[in-house]
């Protein structure tokens, strides 16, 4: 990628050094480990028991998928952001729930019901994402305004569909398994989340789309003169955001056996928090997916730890804020250079 950190050349020879060249990644990894250690120490062995690890993992995807969407939007630059994620997630689940029940009976053909549910949900996400894409890429709306508008549109549509009440799906075994079952000890929805994250990593790294996205975010003007079809790239990006949101919506529906328009209304801000804490540059052009995944898990570990320790959830907000500030400080502050300046003797000139 075009965004290597300055100290990379220092350590170009050693693989291990290169592995630890990204300060943000190191710090996120260490935070995960440290919170896990602290929680185990303070809350007891139950915290690292299989059940809790599974429970925490299964809680990550809802927010994690929305955060991946926000990350992609942010990388695209031009103030990119997606505020409509959770609204679209709820709408996808709602439409899928209503439409599927018309065609397939969940009691007679639960598997067909589940597959159709997932299909329709993703279809709605695709359409919603394309709408965002058209508004931002071709109508030229600022992403924050466009997605704020579609957020209200999606929420409003979901309210109208059921007059504001929740839509109960009932217990449908395959759908319930999709949200709650584990395979080889790993919750299915978490495995899906990792698979999607892996797929996006590959796309960002090895496809022209990925390269174009980063270049576009770094300098939109230069990208245009270089012949990058920026409108198409932006359109695709927001379409992917929509699909990610609808997968989150399907997971929410599976885990709660119901759909409601106002579920996860606090997720918009938390998803942005995860992304910014992961060092994704709000101006665009830089962001590592692995950091977003680690940032999401760190937040989950911290929040579960507080629940284990009976700490007020207000303090959790405060701790998240503190974590965000420390993350930002770490990514901006070059400790190696500072250390070198303090102890020049340890670093003989080349």
């Amino acid at each position: 990628m075009s965004t290597q950190s300055p100290q990379k050349e220092l350590a170009a020879n050693s693989f291990a050094a290169r592995l630890f060249a990204d300060r943000q990644l190191n710090f996120l990894l260490l935070t995960n480990v440290a919170v896990l250690a602290a929680a185990t120490l303070l809350a007891g062995a139950d915290f690292i028991g299989l059940y809790n690890l599974q429970s925490m993992a299964a809680q990550v995807p809802e927010l994690g998928l929305l955060a991946l969407g926000v990350m992609l939007a942010m990388i695209s630059g031009n103030g990119g952001i997606d505020l409509s994620g959770i609204a679209l997630a709820n709408l996808s689940g709602m439409v899928a729930g209503l439409l599927t029940a018309l065609v397939v009976s969940p009691d007679e053909a639960p598997l067909a019901y589940t597959l159709m549910f997932l299909g329709i949900a993703i279809g709605v996400g695709l359409i919603g994402g394309m709408l965002n894409g058209v508004l931002i890429a071709w109508a030229g709306l600022t992403p924050i305004l466009a997605t704020l508008g579609t957020q209200l549109l999606f929420t409003g549509a979901a309210v109208v569909l059921t007059n504001g009440s929740a839509l109960r799906l009932g217990y449908i075994e395959p759908l319930d398994d999709f949200g709650n079952a584990t395979m080889l000890g790993v919750p299915l929805c978490f495995a899906l989340f990792l698979a999607i994250a892996g797929l996006i990593t590959v796309v960002l790294r090895f496809t022209p789309f990925g390269v174009h996205l980063y270049l576009l975010g770094t300098n939109a003007k230069a990208a245009r003169y270089a012949g990058i079809a920026s409108q198409r790239v932006i359109f695709l990006t927001y379409t992917v955001c929509g699909i990610l949101a609808s997968v989150a919506g399907a997971i929410i529906a599976a885990r709660t056996s119901s759909v409601k328009w106002d579920y996860g209304s606090s997720y918009v801000m938390i998803a942005i928090l995860i992304v910014v804490a992961a060092g994704v540059r709000p101006e665009g052009g830089y962001g590592r997916l692995i950091c977003v995944v680690l940032s999401a898990t760190a937040l989950q570990l911290l929040s579960s730890m507080f629940n284990f320790l009976d700490v007020s959830n207000f303090f959790r907000d405060c701790a998240w804020g503190l974590m965000l500030l420390i993350f930002l400080a770490v990514s901006r502050f070059d400790a190696r250079a500072w250390w070198q300046a303090q102890f020049p003797a340890k670093f003989p000139a080349k």
Binding site: F20, R23, N26, F27, L30, T31, V33, A34, V35, A37, A38, A39, L42, A43, G44, D46, G49, Y51, N52, S55, M56, A58, E62, N163, S165, A166, L167, R168, Y171, D176, G179, I252, R255, T256, S257, S258, K260, D262, Y263, G264, S265, S266, Y267, S303, S304, M305, F306, N307, F308, L309, D310, S312, N313, F314, R316, A319, L322, I326, A335, W339
Partner: protein, 334 residues
């Protein structure tokens, strides 16, 4: 690796800051966790008093109240997920939205955790749902007080938070049914929606006063309806001349009760609800059953009625309403 060292120090200290100072010793007994809709609201702070009191007065039981910082069903579900993993013995919950918690409460029960809900008579995955009272009766009770105040005759109207708020509609309907006893009372423009906004209730009340200058009574639905109506009456100089009775909280309604713009309010005490939820959870943990007419030892729940819920559980209904007027609102500091 100098940076790594610094980062380790940073991260570890963050972890310690986070964990420091919190009591972690859990005594050997049973743990009952109460999950409310939102932390830091007067209503649920009052509930926490009940939750804590039960823990103090019951040996061998640790009780704690949890709640999300924002009223969001998703955050509430996540707290319960963590409590299941923490292996608490019982979970009592006031759901934001019962349907959003069905999955997680089912998982809790599958793992042998006792589940008690409050204000969720449509919840399937619960063992016992506790209702402070029968909603129709509660509405009828408001109306009975209104009728007394109005001298059993004249025009009256009712308010609801929104037509989607099931309990509010039940109160309004219960009131209307009760008013049929009095031929002199005429219901006009029933079920005005205030959308849980005191300003909207105020506007609506002013509108109704213009439309029906001879109106004699208002029955409030949401807890802020009486505040809006009271303000409209005070501005029109009609306090004491028109009767206002409805759901309300003593602290908020106090000044209107004093001025005579509101004659009376009714509510149920969240402290007692907190107490009784934990009491029922303890009974379940002891393997006891809740039966018709049982005395749960909490005011208003001395002779509960029991009916079958929509799932496998039961619904326990008390008579835990509290009627408050100018003379006794100071006894309830919330």
């Amino acid at each position: 690796m100098s940076f790594t060292r610094k980062a380790v120090a940073c991260a570890v200290s963050l972890g310690l800051v986070a964990g420091a100072g919190f009591a972690l010793a859990q005594s050997g007994g049973k743990t009952i966790s109460t999950v409310v809709k939102i932390t830091g609201e007067t209503w649920f702070n009052r509930m926490e008093e009940g939750v804590k009191a039960f823990g103090v007065e019951t040996p061998g039981v640790t009780t704690t109240q949890y709640g999300p910082p924002k009223a969001d069903a998703a955050l509430q579900g996540k707290i319960i997920e963590d409590l299941i993993a923490k292996k608490v013995d019982a979970i009592t919950v006031v759901p934001m939205d019962p349907s959003a918690l069905e999955g997680v409460l089912k998982r809790a029960m599958d793992r042998g955790i006792k589940v008690v809900t409050h204000e969720a008579d449509n919840a399937k995955n619960t063992q016992v749902d506790i209702e402070a009272f029968d909603n129709k009766e509660f509405g009828a009770r408001f109306n009975e007080r209104l009728a007394k105040c109005m001298g059993e005759s004249g025009k009256w109207t009712s308010f609801v938070g929104s037509l989607g708020s099931l309990t509010h509609v039940q109160w309004a309907d219960g009131g209307a049914e009760n008013a049929k006893k009095y031929p002199g009372m005429t219901l006009v423009d029933a079920k005005n929606e205030s959308f849980n906004d005191a300003n909207k209730a105020y506007e609506k009340a002013k509108e109704l006063l213009r439309k029906h200058p001879d109106i004699k009574g208002f029955q409030g639905g949401s807890a802020i309806d009486v505040l809006g109506i009271g303000r409209a009456l005070e501005e029109a100089g009609l306090q004491g001349k028109i009767c206002v009775i409805g759901l309300g909280l003593p602290r908020d309604s106090g000044k209107f009760l004093e001025s005579g713009a509101i004659q009376g309010i009714g509510f149920w005490d969240p402290k007692d609800a907190g107490l009784v939820m934990n009491k029922v959870a303890k009974l379940l943990l002891d393997g006891k059953e809740i039966t018709e007419g049982m005395d749960l030892g909490v005011p208003g729940y001395n002779k509960v009625s029991v009916k079958k819920g929509p799932g496998k559980g039961i619904i326990v209904v008390g008579q835990a309403w509290i009627d408050v007027d100018k003379n006794n609102y100071k006894d309830y500091p919330f």
